[in-house]
Amino acid sequence: MHAPNIEFAIEARNIVKRFDGEAAVDGIDLTIRKGSIFGILGPNGAGKTTTLRMLLGIIDPDEGERFLLGSPDPISMAHQVGYLPEERGLYQSMKAYDAIAFMGALRGLPLAEGRKRGRKMMEDHGLGDAADKQIRQLSKGMAQTVQLLGTLVHDPGLIILDEPFSGLDALNQGKLERLIRDQADKGVTIIFSTHVIAHAERLCEEIAIIADGKIPFKGKVSTARDRLRPQVHLETRNLDGPWRTAIPADCQPLGHNWHFTLPESGVEPLLHALVEGGAGIESLSIERPGLHDAFVQIAGEAVTRRMEADAATNNQDEAA
């Protein structure tokens, strides 16, 4: 076993998890710095939840090793961790403030202190009137907020949120984003998984994209974006002329609109060629790709590679 690096909140080396012989997570390496907001992105079924469960110690990896806050036994660090699972759940007969206290008690916070904090947190979040209500009497959104508060009640140094935005309306999504930023400002490490890229783009310093049980990309959001060339949206009066040599040969117009990737040579030579070649520019915009585009490309490539590998294996099997 390697020694863990204390700078990292999470360190995973080549972790593998198989279910029924099939790899749900297939050799993931992941390091997450303390104090950062880190996003784990991936399509449905990519292995995000399984990865988080392994990092948290809910399940053990079949291969590889992981350290949570420097410990190879994640459950032993549970009192420093807050976790909001993808599938939300609370005891329906519990009072709201008691549910928060119970979640704190699970992670070592004395029950009386948890109850006091629970009431205070609910008041701070405008839910003071609901503190004494049973969970079954709350709306879905309120219950989700209660669970989120239960995740934070013991002041964890590391918060892991699995698809935290799912099921929330736009207003509550905004509130959650603010809450994540507030926690990060206090120095808390935040890790969240999502398949809605916009949240990661707004909040994260770094991301990892999981696709098909692997991590095809990990790094800064800007680095992910830079993997794609800017996109040109051009509208011309003319459909033909010498200027056509300036745009990719396979680019077909949609009416008088052209969409293509900015050539390696850059904006200026393109603009020059269009003007000199008599394109008759009506409008021209150059858009830097968003994280969403990068995600689709990276995740898509990974899935395509897997499908090709599967096809090759099948062919070999058939040949044999």
Binding site: F19, D20, A24, G45, T49, T50, R53, L56, G57, I58, I59, D60, I75, S76, A78, V81, Y83, P85, E86, E87, R88, G89, L90, Y91, Q92, S93, M94, F102, M103, A105, L106, R107, G108, G150
Partner: protein, 399 residues
């Protein structure tokens, strides 16, 4: 370990208060009174059947000629009446037939229920009231037939307070009663553990628990919360039973004293109930943890009840076979061990064996919990619809 106990306490406290302070707990307390009544009736019926089928041994202290005559008569009569309808006769050489000698023999030899002495014309039957009353008529029949005379033979009876055999029989009754009570309570209460994790799985709380505390603590906490609830129920039922007995003026002296004495027997009843509950409960919790719906739990209830019955039959059949292989098997087989041991407490005086048995049962409980946790972590804590859609069998076997 301390962290596991702390976490188990958090779970146990939540579960215990959630159950005890629910409205349905009142109905839970009332519910078992009906099967308890049936159990007591069944137990009485069993005792009656036992009495009916048991064949006692009567010691014979007569002259050699009369003894030979009596034995031949018994053989002759049993051809027509059946051997079970007449007491076995055992010739006791070396006894004079005096009352003191007879009583001493009855006290020392537990295989003899009563002693026939005197002569065939004036037979004397010495024994406990129950035995003498039950077999007086048959002895008269044997004597009259042996003498081949129409005149009635009158059997003189001499009653002794307690013979070795009647004391043993009393302890056997205590063993049967104690075991029946233990079995009944375990059957009523342990099965409830089956559905104990369904709430967490249905409400999707299980992942919050699993991420925060060791899974062993979840299982332990749930088990002890249910045990606590069961003990509350038993306390309520015992109190009601006691009040009922006082109101109806029960004869406490009629209760056969167990070999270890009532206070220790009472303590052992609580301890062995707890162990039986923890052993079966940990198994049921492990099996129930694989179920994802109430329907699956209901499906599991029947085979689980059958399994319980098998264990109980094993323990019950071993009561009268102290020290024999089948009884040792019942003592050592963890699930029947508490029931077999309470029967021992009623019939054997030594206490150290109970310490060993309790340790053995506790170790096995921990082994079952570890195994259940391992299965649960391996086969249940998977993400995605595919994992949830797997059949119960597939989840248990990991296939």
């Amino acid at each position: 370990m301390i962290e596991t106990i702390r976490a188990a306490f958090v779970i146990a406290r939540r579960d215990f208060t959630a159950i005890i302070f629910s409205k349905s707990f009142f109905f839970f307390l009332l519910g078992p009174l009906f099967p308890l009544g049936i159990g007591i009736a069944a137990s009485n019926l069993g005792s009656q059947v036992n009495r009916d089928i048991e064949t006692p041994t009567i010691g014979v202290v007569l002259s050699a000629e009369e003894t030979e005559n009596l034995l031949a008569t018994r053989t002759r009569l049993s051809r027509n009446l059946g051997s079970k309808s007449l007491p076995e006769l055992m010739v006791l050489n070396g006894l004079q037939g005096d009352e003191a000698g007879n009583i001493a023999k009855l006290d020392s030899d537990k295989s003899i229920n009563a002693i026939l002495s005197g002569t065939l014309e004036k037979p004397v039957l010495t024994g406990s009231e129950r035995d003498v009353t039950q077999w007086q008529g048959k002895i008269t029949l044997l004597a009259e037939t042996a003498l081949s005379q129409p005149a009635a033979v009158e059997v003189e009876t001499r009653l002794v307070g307690q013979t070795g055999s009647s004391s043993e029989r009393g302890q056997l009754l205590t063993a049967q009663g104690g075991q029946a009570l233990l079995i009944l309570l375990t059957m009523i209460l342990a099965g409830m553990v089956l559905s104990n994790l369904v709430e967490e799985k249905t409400n999707k709380i299980i992942e919050i628990l699993a991420a925060a505390i060791p899974m062993d603590a979840i299982f332990l906490g749930k088990l002890f919360a249910m045990l606590g609830m069961a003990l509350v129920g038993i306390t309520v039922w015992s109190t009601m039973g006691l009040v009922g007995a006082l109101v109806f003026g029960a004869n406490w002296n009629a209760l056969p004293v167990p070999a270890v004495g009532w206070p220790i027997f009472g303590l052992l009843m609580v301890l062995y109930f707890s162990m039986a509950y923890l052993l079966l409960g940990s198994l049921f919790l492990g099996i129930g943890a694989m179920a994802t719906t109430v329907r699956e739990v209901q499906t599991l209830s029947m085979p689980v009840t059958m399994g319980q019955l098998l264990v109980f039959f094993l323990a019950y059949s071993a009561i009268t076979k102290l020290g024999q292989p089948v009884e040792w098997f019942a003592v050592l087989f963890p699930f029947s061990s508490p029931f077999a041991m309470i029967a021992r407490a009623a019939q054997m005086e030594n206490l150290w064996q109970h310490g060993l048995a309790l340790i053995w049962q506790a170790i096995f409980t921990m082994i079952i919990i570890r195994f259940s946790v391992m299965l649960f972590r391996r086969n249940v804590m998977k993400s995605g619809q595919a994992a949830r859609k797997k059949s119960l069998f597939a989840r248990v076997t990991g296939k």
